[in-house]
């Protein structure tokens, strides 16, 4: 009888869990990388769930002005076109609600300095002519190579950006527990000194 009530409670709890929309987390994190002319930002709550419908605002640190703002999609992703080169680093701020806020500093200095290269991949690459000799200018070749590289490197850039802000690791957790017991030791030390003093005072001298 007792067991069945406990079972019912657990079942009820499970049902509530499945229907509710918990959005609890320790913090929200955001990371960004460039993918052929657009800057892609991805946001997650700690625990790996995407931050949906979070407000993103992008600030140019050189001028201090907001360039772009918007909300993330269902995967926590928000894209915006790369600003023309020459501006400062971009501060991408996410507000995940419930007091969760974070930012990512996107440095534009890794760009080659040629603002045209970013848009290059959107232009049509000239179709190969029927004649066996295809003349490609140096500039076109550079654009093609950069476009392909951007596409190939995008997943790597994403992984690198994601790893820059990792969750707690085992060493950190064990270290934290060690600190706690160390503090307990310090507290015990001071308490014991107090006890020794009391004992000394009580002793007739």
């Amino acid at each position: 009888m007792k067991q069945s009530t406990a079972f019912k409670i657990c079942l009820g709890a499970l049902l509530v869990l499945l229907t509710a929309v918990p959005a609890l987390a320790h913090k929200v994190r955001i990371f960004a990388w460039e993918d052929s002319g657009t800057i892609v930002t991805e946001s997650q709550f700690s625990g790996g769930r995407p931050a949906k419908n979070a407000v993103i605002s992008v600030i140019d640190t050189a001028t201090g002005q907001q360039i772009v703002s918007g909300t993330t999609d269902g995967e926590g992703v928000f894209r915006f076109p790369s600003p023309p080169a020459g501006g400062g680093a971009l501060k991408i701020i996410i507000d995940g609600g419930e007091g969760h806020k974070n930012s990512w500093l996107f440095k534009t200095e890794e760009e080659t300095g040629n603002s045209n290269t970013a848009q290059a991949t959107h232009q049509k690459i000239p179709a190969p002519q029927k004649s066996s000799t295809v003349t490609v200018t140096r500039e076109e070749l550079q654009q093609i190579v950069e476009g392909v590289l951007d596409k190939k490197l995008a997943p790597i850039k994403r992984t690198l950006a994601e790893n820059a802000d990792r969750g707690p690791r085992l060493q950190d957790i064990l270290g934290g527990i060690g600190y706690i017991f160390g503090l307990a030791g310090i507290a015990a030390y001071f308490q014991s000194r107090k006890k020794i003093k009391e004992y000394d005072n009580e002793r007739p001298s």
């Binding site: 929309v21 918990p22 959005a23 987390a25 974070n102 707690p168 934290g176």
Partner: protein, 201 residues
Amino acid sequence: MHISEGVLSPPVLAAGGALTVIGTAVGLKNLDYDRIMTVSLLTATFFVATLIHVPVGPGSIHLVLGGLMGVVLGWACFPAILVALFLQTILFQYGGLTVLGVNTAVMALPALLCYYLFRPWLENNGKKRKVGAFLAGFLAILLSSLLMALALASTDKGFIGTAQLVIAAQLPLMIIEGIITMFTVSFLAKVQPEFLQLGKS
């Protein structure tokens, strides 16, 4: 449960800091020599329990165990939660140093209230103990949500809607915490009654 840096206004930060300082001072002053290990054990439990995220539905939840800390530790829950949150801040960048006071107060004040409300119930050897423990776990999360909502709402009016969302989102956690606190307390009362200090308060 961790409010980030740069969200709250200075008065709210100062109020939270003041409450935490008072609570920690009282907690440390009343801390007995033979209670130190109990406090640090529960601090470590809290530190680890709040790190483990269980993916549920579209989001993820983690335990807080405020109710358990409250009924077992009393005023000592303030230094315990403060230490655990401080370590989480410096090790994992959860929350922030300026909001440490607010975050501690948000979790420790309800725990303390649970101590005064439900501690006498735990002395009862039977159903009342279980009900008291469940209510402590449940109420601690509910009140923490309310306090957090208050901190966020008084900072920015636009947060009130979000604040209601917090309470709705925490509802499953309240039930889980209630059940876990209930089982933990009744287990400890059977196996290790001196840990709970039953019959002494």
